[in-house]
Amino acid sequence: MSLLAVQFAPFPQITREALPLLPKTLVEWLLAGFGAPEWLVLIAGFLVAAATVVGVFAGGFALLSLVERKTLARAQNRIGPNRAGWFGILQPVADGIKMLTKEDIVPAKAEKLLHLLAPIMIVVPSILALGVIPYGREWIPVPLELGLLFFFAVGAMTEVSIFMAGWASGSKFPMLGAMRAISQMVSYELPLMICALGVVMVSGTLSLPDIVDKQGGFHLGFIPAWNLFTPWGLVAGLLFYVCSIAEANRCPFDLPEGESEIVAGHMTEYSGFKYALFFMGEYLGLFAISGLGITLFLGGWQAPLPGLDFVPSWIWFFAKLCAVIFSFLWIRATFPRVRIDQLMRFAWLCMIPMALLTLPAAAIWHFTGRGFLSWVVTVPLLLIPWVIITVIYNKRLAPTLRTYHFAE
């Protein structure tokens, strides 16, 4: 019996920090025990590590679809889904079964191949982007040296796939939705990247784990040394937050799929599981961009107060993620949708000038020693233009009331 001859090494010690790596360690240990070749162990380890990330966030997607409906219901004084399971906890399962068993309709005028490829191509970049984010001190799926660049590079694929979805459907609403989505994403990607650039300048690295490491420690013993708690970081972080809402196509910037205007935008002609894939891509993208924001500005997996290090770092990361996602839900429940001209105007006249200003502010912050002097110099540098831009925007450039030619 060959099975009796297998030699198992003692199982490696699993610390609380490395708990999310348990599946990977387990598979590697099992394969090594059965005498698998080294390359097989390596590949299997990578695959299981990737599957862990995908599994966690696919579960998060299912959970979020329920939490979002429940939160919106609470905000609108309704009950929300409460029939499937205790407090509607089985609602995502019911939705999934419904999506899987629905008929897959492809319009007669559609480009079959592109129509099929688009939903797949929208999920892939989100998953790739999730791979480079450091979730914990030891849980870093792919520690790339150019992690931030990789994140934005794969994010660029989303626009092409949205275009493919809109164009291949061969009807008007998807096309309009795709045009809106692309113009919005191109406009808001610019300030998003500029905001991230400030962090890169101050940290001196493009590697996301290193950026988190640079934010360790505390000022005055209790204020965490996160990038958010610096003048330029506060401005850049807030801009990043607004841009990430726009990038994720969420309310109040959900024009590409404004239900009351263009049905569902580029997803209109999709049904069944392809439609579910679009939703999955969107939510995974939301997780990814929130995770990047947390990594850049909220200190990644760092604990918010000294002495809280006994809690594993990945729990802190996911606690921050939950808080950020909840704020997105809250905003969706609170604000009405903006108009397309308001959206573009806001991006080009407010967001981009302010984002550009954070760059000199970050440079000055870096070269004046990050102390009292830096505060004195950078706060006016950011505050005065902000006041000026706000006043000018509100007085002169704000969109005037629109007269509806067809509604009079």
Binding site: L149, F163, M164, M175, A178, E189, R402
Partner: protein, 171 residues
């Protein structure tokens, strides 16, 4: 070597498709594919930075720009496009053959090019930045001036003549 053997035919096929497809949208998407495959080629050659930048700029910006401009223009007649092909072929060859000749000439002047590639160590991002902003600073500044001029030009074009501020109700 094996990744190159798989990638190069794919790149060539995608590029030929981009030229040959009569529908502009198909051509644009194939162009995007060509550029993306080129980015992967750079990654395979362990030029990570240029590969990711290629992806970000060409797939994320240039291809999207082309596609977007296709959306807001009227689609042309496909039959007309196909009828124009013989003439296009002559023009295309006239343009591309000199470029190919120059490239072959440059490549032929490299001695032991394969060895040089094999010897090249992976350049860190810091080295790249230092070289770019010290040795090649004038070139970077020239490109910066050029891009600023382009941006101002684009803003001028976008502005409608004889109109100070746009009102949303007219646009």
């Amino acid at each position: 070597m094996i990744p190159l053997l798989i990638l190069t035919p794919l790149i060539l096929l995608a590029a030929l498709g981009a030229v040959w497809k009569a529908r502009p949208v198909h051509a644009a998407l194939l162009l995007a594919l060509t550029l993306a495959l080129n980015a992967i080629l750079y990654l395979v050659l362990s030029a990570d930075f240029i590969g990711l930048i290629q992806f970000m700029v060409y797939v994320g910006a240039v291809a999207v720009l082309i596609v977007f401009s296709l959306l807001i223009t009227r689609p042309g007649d496909e039959a007309e496009e196909i009828a124009r092909r013989p003439r296009s072929l002559v023009t295309g060859l006239a343009c591309s053959l000199p470029v190919l000749a120059v490239m072959l000439f440059i490549v032929s002047r490299f001695e032991n090019a394969g060895q040089a590639v094999a010897d090249a160590r992976s350049v860190s991002i810091e080295q790249l930045g230092t070289t770019l902003f010290t040795t090649h600073a004038p070139a970077v500044m020239a490109v910066g001036v050029l891009l600023t001029a382009v941006m101002i030009g684009a803003a001028l074009f976008a502005r409608e003549p004889g109109k100070k501020t746009q009102t949303p109700s007219d646009s």
